[in-house]
Point group: C2
Amino acid sequence: MLSKARIKWIKSLEMRKYRLLHNAFLAEGPKLVGELLPYFTPLYVVATKEWLTQNSLLLGAAKEVDEVSQEELERASLLRKPQSVLAVLPMRNTDFKIQDPKSLYLALDGVQDPGNLGTILRIADWFGIRHILCGTEGTADVYNPKCVQSCMGALARVEVHYCNLPEVLKEAQMPIYGTFLDGKDIYQEELSPNGIIVMGNEGNGISEEVAELVSHRLYVPNFPKGSLTTESLNVAVATGIVCAEFRRRS
Amino acid sequence: MLSKARIKWIKSLEMRKYRLLHNAFLAEGPKLVGELLPYFTPLYVVATKEWLTQNSLLLGAAKEVDEVSQEELERASLLRKPQSVLAVLPMRNTDFKIQDPKSLYLALDGVQDPGNLGTILRIADWFGIRHILCGTEGTADVYNPKCVQSCMGALARVEVHYCNLPEVLKEAQMPIYGTFLDGKDIYQEELSPNGIIVMGNEGNGISEEVAELVSHRLYVPNFPKGSLTTESLNVAVATGIVCAEFRRRS
């Protein structure tokens, strides 16, 4: 039986201030929870008997586990169609320094739509990018339940770090790439196998402060070049095209 | 003064069955309406005095125009923040045959999310693809107001045709490309400058019936190749990467 206080605690994780307060986030459904549990030590798992029986191995380090009926689970869920399990997981430590100067990183400077952030997380996962740096100013929160549910297992394999982006970039001893409407044709430029790829806000692109730190200004050419088209590509689509091109060459 | 009947007519266009009944769709806001008017002869425009004064040249062929106060406009609008103009535009004739075998086309086989469809329309516009063929089965409606508002001017330059996709593909005398998890590395394959690129449903990919008509099965490789990652890229991101690669080579 779930207490009212417990349900309130779970549901509070829909809001960022409570996620920060509890240093925790919510994941729901057998597929997602199954993918995340090997990577996070759960603070709390609540599930039906059936799920618990089939997944006992995943629960090794869980701090607390409750078995409930499907009806009870539904009272705690944020989903319209609650499924057999719900887990409260700890947010990752966000104290981050670039440790591998031979790797490729993504940095997001004000990507504000949680849907775009989730899609970018899946792109990073697909292209073997293990760390995403997010400017604390204006970038969506990856631990937002909608983002968590859409990221699926990518959230396990890709670490998202909220940081003072200009400071981290200043200290990085590696090439910094960014896309700009007046950048150079990405297909004509040399791309290094390591570096940081910065993507900017949906409406305003990369901020001035960050733009000054970009060492290589790139552009995905439209077709025919210079024709009158849409003003820009969606930021997740641009991220996909740029990452694909970096990986095509390595 | 807008009559109740007029407001009801405008608002009914939120629903597909009424769009089909009236063969019309809704566009709102000065930027979007300004981009679309040169390409569509409006059935009806309702706007503030200020907008009408500044845009009289755009209204040449409009069948009917009403000047209203901002407050009145808000009563008819579907937007949360209504702007100075709203236009009812005719849907395009969807009777379509491939007329230019030297061109590149996109075909969508069950892309059901209107956000993805809008993003793909902008990709087509960016990469100079003038026609998108949509299977009538399960592909989102580009004239859905949310899609219209997110497509912006791309809807003017890219024509979207709803059709019996398998039939159109059968008659097409050109290469047909599609992406599949067991397809061949796109970077190792020959790509023609003409052809039809088929993209499938968000969850299930390309349908069996359409898959049989695909002559070239492609795959965007993950990195490192064959590693355990996210199951697939978002369909709009995959569309962007594939279109970029076709255009890079032409």
